[in-house]
Amino acid sequence: MASILTVLFNGVAYGFLLFVMSVGLSVTLGMMNFVNLAQASFSMLGGYILVTAMQGYGLPFLLCLPIVFVLVGVVSVVVERLIFRHFYKTDDLTQVLLTIGLVFMSIAMATYVWGGTYQRFDMPSWIIGQKEIFGLTLETYRIFLVGFGAVMAVALIFGLERTQLGAMVRACVDNRRVAGACGLNTELIFAFTFAIGGGLAGLGGALSANLLGLDPNFPLRYLVYILIVVSVGGMGTITGTLIAALALGIADVLGKYYFPQFGSFIIYLLTVAFMLWRPHGLLGRGA
């Protein structure tokens, strides 16, 4: 019994990890209809900023997280202003080619700046080790991940789906000309949304790098998982992304425990099943 509950908890923690990694893309892809694969590069940048701030400048881990969010957010706005905004009206394939090119460029840049090897993470002592909760031995970092992910999910759902700001963003996406005619500064709203999406991606990278390892190949390795979560969840819905991430995370860990010979195959099988059942994603609005 204890092992089942531990496995289940690890699955939930993995689910939240997938959520924090992919919610940034969900925001830009879903809300702005922009296929930004370079979101995975923003994640990597977040990881590297965390390493640099923690190991290089000796800043505490919890302080590093907002720094990562802001810095990656700023970088993503700069990239948006310089490059992406010229491609909002192009078709999906152009956007994919553009942003996958940026991913390859970011890999080369990261190798140049930080070197080709894996980074060392010296996490603070309070977050490593295990804690006894209800008789279960759980990893402290995973407990932190679950808590952080849950707070982030609630904040985002209320912030972007239930507020006036969220409504403004969606209005801009649905019909930019009408939204502009109603007095909305569409350029500013797009840049702002992009910053949030980028910052979230950075945060996801920073939180996952300790568990998944960080090297310049990070974006390519995890892009597939990010895309799976976003497409299963449905474009533009944070609740959908959360449900998809949790479902896939739990299924993956449980699958590896009960049917280890199928390995990580289960996550793909489930994805195909979900996509056949709901082609627009679990909570997708449809085309």
Binding site: S3, T6, V7, N10, G11, A13, Y14, G115, G116, T117, Y118, Q119, R120, F121, D122, I128, G129, Q130, T137, E139, Y141, L211, L212, G213, D215, P216, N217, R221, Y222, Y225, D252, V253, L254, G255, K256, Y257, P260, Q261, G263, S264, F265
Partner: protein, 389 residues
Amino acid sequence: MKTALSILAAAALATVSTQPTLAQETVKIGVLQSYSGITSLGGQQTDFAIKLFMQKFGETPGGFKLQLIRRDTTGPNPEVAKRLVGEVVTREKVQLLIGPDFTPNTLAAAPILSEAKVPSFVTGAATTGIVGEKSPYSTRTFFATPQLCKPLAPFAVKQGWTNIFVVVADFAPGHECEKFFMEALKEANGTLVGNLRTPLSNPEYSGYIQRIRDAKPDGVFIFMPIGELSIGIVRALNDSGLKASGLKIMGTGDITDEGYIDAVGEAAVGVITSGIYSTQHDSALNKEFVKSYTALAGEKNRIGWTAVSAWDAMRLTYDALEAQKGQKFDGEKFAAFLRGHKIESPRGPITIDKSNGDIVQNVYIRRAERVNGVLQNVEIETFKDVSFK
């Protein structure tokens, strides 16, 4: 006028080349390693080792002038390797080859090298049987899978860790290593309490870790390719508290490779591995090697087994070229000379097998520890002259 001059020049050249004492024949050496992407550390180490060797022992062994031709295999990429080998053999006319790295690349290169009779050094592929019959001119300076996968089984049983769980990455080298370890474990009267084959793209280990916990083993044996998988599983075993509860973590040297051990961090401390080379190896030659390599490459670029394999390939090349002093370079003689040749390497003594060019060497059981604050593999036991079979 011009033709007359060139005839004169040709005549002059001809007279020079008939005088063997004055002639300096150039030997072209192809260096086929991975210089890009996640596998680029191998190429980097190879280059440092070759450069260092040539600085120390000169650039004209046996009166031959060496010319290096580098190519990037980009990783385990047989199509690329085959094209590059074809190119350096037919166009650049290389007479020796260091590389290519990785088993699929080595296999792809073998037919070309055999036909062209170009001797090569296998410095980065461990699969059994890739030197010998299929490539009669190859010499291995790396290691063969059984050398690393067998010795840990008797070692573990001797320590009283008899119940062993085996975890390997689900690809051909993983299956091979699993087979060798399980055989050796049976021979040593150890008990296999469970085994897992984990996928190659696998960021999340907790489901597997729980399976290991349920089986209650004394020790776990791991084979993973160097990189995020080897780092990930050692860290996951540590984070789950299994290591703290007394589980012995063992594996091939890949899981504590010097190039990646800092990324494993504290989780690496106490991990037992079988390896062919540690910078901590206690010999005068190794101390000198580590000192001069570090002076050349810097503290940050740590020395792994690829560097030593390249260094030994150079040592063998120089010995074989000295033996051909004053003669024209002959690839077949070169390869034949190396068979049965014995040298002192920074890793310890190594012998090239007489019958097929594979390597016989000491295998060391090491424990990862902090030495002066730096994570190192400290040798605790030696298996002498371990066969490649």
